[in-house]
Symmetry: D2
Subunit: 395 residues, 4 copies
Amino acid sequence: MTKANQSNIFERLELPLKTFPNGDQQDLTVFRLRSPNPGPIVYIQASVHGAEVQGNAVIWHLMNFFRDAPFKGSLTFVPMANPHALLNKTGTYTQGRFNSLSGNNWNRNYTDITKSEHFTIEEFCQRFKEDSPEKIKKHFKEFLYQSLKAEQNQLKKRGPQEDRKLNLILQELAASADIILDLHTGPVATRYLYAGEFEKDKVKDLNFPHTLIIPNEFAGAMDEACFIPWLSLKDALNEAGLSFEVPIESYTVELGSEEVINDDLAKRDAVRILGLLQKRGLLKEEDLSTEKKAFLDEYASSESQKACLLKDYHSYYAARGGLVEYLKAPGESYNEGEVLCRTLSFSDLKNLDQLDQCYSDTHALEDGIIINHNPSAVVHEGQPLYQVMSEIFEL
Amino acid sequence: MTKANQSNIFERLELPLKTFPNGDQQDLTVFRLRSPNPGPIVYIQASVHGAEVQGNAVIWHLMNFFRDAPFKGSLTFVPMANPHALLNKTGTYTQGRFNSLSGNNWNRNYTDITKSEHFTIEEFCQRFKEDSPEKIKKHFKEFLYQSLKAEQNQLKKRGPQEDRKLNLILQELAASADIILDLHTGPVATRYLYAGEFEKDKVKDLNFPHTLIIPNEFAGAMDEACFIPWLSLKDALNEAGLSFEVPIESYTVELGSEEVINDDLAKRDAVRILGLLQKRGLLKEEDLSTEKKAFLDEYASSESQKACLLKDYHSYYAARGGLVEYLKAPGESYNEGEVLCRTLSFSDLKNLDQLDQCYSDTHALEDGIIINHNPSAVVHEGQPLYQVMSEIFEL
Amino acid sequence: MTKANQSNIFERLELPLKTFPNGDQQDLTVFRLRSPNPGPIVYIQASVHGAEVQGNAVIWHLMNFFRDAPFKGSLTFVPMANPHALLNKTGTYTQGRFNSLSGNNWNRNYTDITKSEHFTIEEFCQRFKEDSPEKIKKHFKEFLYQSLKAEQNQLKKRGPQEDRKLNLILQELAASADIILDLHTGPVATRYLYAGEFEKDKVKDLNFPHTLIIPNEFAGAMDEACFIPWLSLKDALNEAGLSFEVPIESYTVELGSEEVINDDLAKRDAVRILGLLQKRGLLKEEDLSTEKKAFLDEYASSESQKACLLKDYHSYYAARGGLVEYLKAPGESYNEGEVLCRTLSFSDLKNLDQLDQCYSDTHALEDGIIINHNPSAVVHEGQPLYQVMSEIFEL
Amino acid sequence: MTKANQSNIFERLELPLKTFPNGDQQDLTVFRLRSPNPGPIVYIQASVHGAEVQGNAVIWHLMNFFRDAPFKGSLTFVPMANPHALLNKTGTYTQGRFNSLSGNNWNRNYTDITKSEHFTIEEFCQRFKEDSPEKIKKHFKEFLYQSLKAEQNQLKKRGPQEDRKLNLILQELAASADIILDLHTGPVATRYLYAGEFEKDKVKDLNFPHTLIIPNEFAGAMDEACFIPWLSLKDALNEAGLSFEVPIESYTVELGSEEVINDDLAKRDAVRILGLLQKRGLLKEEDLSTEKKAFLDEYASSESQKACLLKDYHSYYAARGGLVEYLKAPGESYNEGEVLCRTLSFSDLKNLDQLDQCYSDTHALEDGIIINHNPSAVVHEGQPLYQVMSEIFEL
């Protein structure tokens, strides 16, 4: 057993994010664990949406695991990756999905760096196309980092728009990573993740019960912001007649429900991620202590892995305003025609014979699995009820 | 078996509440069920706080029960008693505890009518003190109603402040009632209720698992606004040498958690209320159909009834900001010194040896029962964690 | 003088928008004034953003003008076009720019119908390309309407997402219009408008002091949603070798500051619009009463018309959090290097000698005109300060 | 001329207020300027309500004045006295009047320390009643401070409720002061202040255009929290047969409109306060430099001082929802019957003949002066329009 852990380096970085109206500074705290032995570069952030906090407990368990376990490569952890969103309460709940001033959804506001003038991909290909894929990968990470830096510098010119500043810092932190995990949660939700079409075979190693396969396109999210430049590189090299496969993975990982910390489930979540890292060579089971092995065994998951394409991931919206009882739980399967929820409204009640009509049912339009539902029983017409998977296949 | 139900009268009333900035009118909908046979006058409202919706499902079951069951007296139902609050979302959740413009908590904004110039209690006593208690009661209900009407008229002078207008309408609707139930919920909560010191023997008939005994004082809530005038009458008559007992009951009833509709629990909640009404003579078991009796049996509760004084009802506030895992569930008992919740924060983490200190525990200061907890894991220092009962006794 | 006005038809339509959680229905109110004589079809809406209300007072003056003035064609008015947004207060102010649940900006959420499967433009061109431009225009309006209807029907399938439902209804109402005016306001703002590149010569007839020329592209706004299909038609016909010019105009018009109704300025705003309608043949000055002519004269504007391209319309964001004094007013010109605002913060004040450094200045990066500024003195780093025009030219 | 300023001491204190969910600490920053020569102890805070910021600019000018001016006594400045409230935006505006979770208005949540078990006034009087008024004053300040400290310690037991913690810290900071100024603003407002009945003669020295005389009672505000204990002392001593006058002054000062920093007006505001301090012996005009004297002259105010009792300070609420044009400006006088504002609504418009009825007027019920109005044109029925003074007298 290598004693790599004895010389692992732990760093804490504080990156200035913003100053508040009273002048207080808010920093982003980054933790980095580096092995002296080369290996995968891993980037994990949590809580870009303020109410989605379970990932922070998972990061704690990952740090705790590597406290005294040998590994190769490096791990960058950014818990509470959006402190502004985390602090932002209106009433009891955390309103951290959008910036309430700009309306920007913090996970739809990343930069497609391939559209930037700084992303001179033709020039890059011209310069490095003769290199080995491994070298191209290394150069490209540097190129990506420089492009993002240039974009950040430009942002400063007329003052740094607050959402873009944060989003670009996070992109920069992930620019050198081989594996990027953006830990979110749904509203009231099961565990599920988003994987790009191009990485749909790799994602199996995360062993998640539900996977949404998204197109290889940019729609503003972190996972896409991280993989799109590599797809762009692949296209450019392929066009130049060179074969090249995307060497990185980038996933949005939804760890159950918002506003919840659950330590027991955090262990299971951590073990899923450790399983991926094991398969990517960051850690080896044989190097682990008996205790660590037991931890991995105890919290291992063995569910089947269901998946569907994003086009088959549907939302149900309320056809009528009212008070909703959600009859199906996240993760639950249902058949076409089943009642998914009931909506109570007294608005048409003129006599007691009409009492049964106070409740209206929402029926499933096809077979599927509940992925999440609205956490509120109070629903306006047109507000979301459920998000569901249909046309499901095994990964 | 009387067939009283055949001639029960069902009414729906629409009371104008306000006009919106676009001119649309918002009404309060009131349902009334009246037996031709005299009996208790019951007033039940739900959702004065917009997110607290379970009471509406309970009202549905009560109406459904009396659809074809004989009874004496009358029942007034005001579901969704605060439509403005119910509509008011900020983000996913319903922000219906305060008026966000005035800051008024809708259940701390009722009028203490005994402080009004229209509440001429000495004059009232002078006039009716020779009457029988039953007659005094009847006259006093009329007097109460007239006082509230006068207060409402005065309110109109410079435009009707929106919160007071609603609160006074609800008080007026309840002015003639013998039994007043104001159906709320806690945040994430067990079932519990508030009863005045003066009615602590009567409240047992509601058969609730947890009861808070509050002083016979006005603190702005509906239950108090309803019972305070009667206590004032009792005092005035007693001072005049006449014996008089408060002939009405008024409770705030907390039906579990906010943002939730649960039909199965609504049946249990309804049966608790039906049990009280039975004991007060509104319905008789022998008059009921086999089906109705079976319903009462199936959903009956048999828990013990724990109570404490309001002074022994405590709040725990966060001693430190962080992400909280609530380890105790509403309704759960605990002993002094037990860990109630754990708070995660990375703020002091400088090296991995300090990892365990990322979590800090909140310990119980005495034996108690969890009544409710904050529905959010994201907590600023000084925000509520739990509300608990201590110094508990059986009712 | 034609007495067209005697037979003008005034209609009020109520279109169901949504039901609230309490079951109340919210309608969209549409007013339509139709002359028996054919002429331009005009569509004017106001307050899609809830706080931006001045347009409603302008609509009142337009309706008042045509109460007894002869005209040709028709006018559709949709004041308070987004009642949900108008009702939505958090605190004192109207939070009507985004749907706080979905985060959708109501003026960035319209549908690009040219991307819809229902928008079969090739088929349309094939069928009608031999027709006269006038006939093509007529057919295309019908085609547009049908495409939008089909899109709306599809939306209903899983319940109508609330924002898209509203946005599609507004698009449908405007589908047959020759002139579309979407009345908004800025935060604290001067009067300015957005015009497409293709209509930059026509926009002069609106006689506005400031104009932003936007690309002929779709970015989610109403003006674009209205003109993009016509640009698509033009392209398709041109590709088929036919000449065709876009026969409609569509502008977003910013009438000063949000949260303000000013009747005197509303008259000036109305007269600007009446000037356009006059030039498009909807009304003729010689047909007007002396009183109407006097009204047009009294409230006419004679400022010069400054314009810039959207790429030269810049935002300044706060480089530092603090309390901001805005030194330049909307509409004011400034030179490069001038101080635009000062920001107060005590955060670095350690001794009184540093007192002057509590204030930091924001300097203009080039010559320009202030278009609007943040209405709040309380500014976080990265939040907007000003929006300004640069590289200004006369229209 | 004493050169007291050369040895004035300037201190900056950071008092820990709270930790955020991410663990960041938020401090209260306090600035203190002390002369070696004894004199009045002055306490000035600003922005307890987050949107009410003008006082911070005034504090800057006061500090700037005393940078090199001789004085006696001490000045404690707490700008941005409620950082939590200052940071709290929902949309563009600062929602800092209430804690959105607890609903507590931060200026209605101070502690009436005379109700505390720690405020043993009888014991205090017994012990010190033989002393001179000056000595009693000194002892009482210490007693007040200790009572507030004891209250704060008690608060910690179950975690420090966030609003009370802040409010008690501010009370503690002011406990030793002879002059307490709590700088607020209205919504859209003129300059006015609140003075207790007991200090109505002294308040003239602040030279404010509008003064509201409030009862010598506790209603939760800072000014009251500061003067109530002294009134309680006076009562206790008087009851014990000793004459004693309240030796402190405490005012809530409203410096115009919220969300605004205006440096020119800040100078005038500062000069008003300097005028009071001059009359109380903190500074002497003859000690000042020519420059300072010129500053005092240039920004001096010479308006008349109008006042009314709190009972004659009225609110107008909207009798109808709609869009409001405020026709009277803050500070403006009006006569009974005048139109104060007009409200636009299209809700009843069925034909064009009814167009005039879209506007409804709000008339003045008596002669008065506008003190403030709602900053939003979008008004629900029952929301505030104006606050006005009536039954006005000269101070």
